[in-house]
Symmetry: C2
Subunit: 149 residues, 2 copies
DNA sequence: CTTGACCTTCCCACGGTGGGAAGGTGGAGA
DNA sequence: TCTCCACCTTCCCACCGTGGGAAGGTCAAG
């Protein structure tokens, strides 16, 4: 990215550029999100045609795909910014990447444990509820604090 | 809730009312969120003192605690609105509550599975990364699409 | 030249929570 | 009574990630 506003769109295309929806299709990141990532500085500003259309090269699409995959692994935007920095830095230590990934894995574990705790409690309640036409319901009783307050 | 603006705060207190921070402390819902729930209609508008301070009875705190517990189980606001409706309706069928809870449990399961999928992929990558001072790193390679694109 | 599909920027929404500013009140102590 | 501080009020702004949609410009094909 970061080219000057040189091209007509047709010229840009023949020079191997994509427009934003092509970049979106090729990367799996929506056009909306591509603009958003640019705005927030996650990716550098895209080049533009004389008419102001954003244009993308293969390398740019590659970056977007990287982001997409990181999102699929649940990394936050901040973490992805860190990963992109490490990716660009050819002298990085793999230990730094591993540390970031391990941290994220711990976050995932915490979140999973939290959800499993909810699930366990809920399962118990659902199990206790006869679930028929009568109004008495242990689920509501529990939420209302019957057993605690 | 839904009392007219009758009281001075001191009178209200002696009539068994709480102010918002007391209600917050007793229910585990922050004052900020109590106002938010009122604004969004999840709970009815609180009574007020002549000076405009919100006042709460035990029953109101009870409702807030119900909401708090439902949040702790991961129910969304919309689901909680449903649960509150069922709670208030003394002629509800417990089957309706059970259905709502079972649906939420399925949502939790889906979310857990999603996170576990991420965790598994990530674990594999972290395991493959030697994590030393050298720059080559299977985690970044994977994100960059080495094995797929 | 028209038409339709794209592009641009801009604002708004969701969930749920928090921070903080600006101004009014309550109650305790001097 | 005055002062002081903690609390209350409303209001707007932020986070994260994503989508919807309006208003206006551009491009390519017919």
């Amino acid at each position: 990215m970061a080219q000057a506003k040189y091209f007509e769109l047709s010229d840009a295309r023949s020079e191997g550029f994509f427009n934003i929806s092509e970049a979106a299709g090729a990367s799996g990141v929506s056009a909306k999100m591509i603009r958003h990532y640019e705005e927030t500085g996650l990716v550098p500003k895209a080049g533009r045609t004389v008419a102001g259309y954003r244009i993308y090269r293969d390398a740019d699409v590659h970056v977007l795909r990287f982001i997409r995959r990181a999102r699929d692994l649940g990394f936050t935007m901040k973490e992805i910014a860190g990963l992109l920095g490490l990716w660009k830095d050819k002298r990085r230590a793999s230990a730094d990447v591993k540390k970031l990934a391990a941290k994220h894995m711990a976050d995932l574990d915490a979140r999973i444990a939290e959800l499993q705790g909810m699930r366990r409690s809920l399962e118990h309640l659902v199990h206790c509820c006869h679930g028929d036409g009568r109004p008495d319901c242990p689920i509501l009783d529990d939420l209302a604090g019957a057993g605690r307050a």
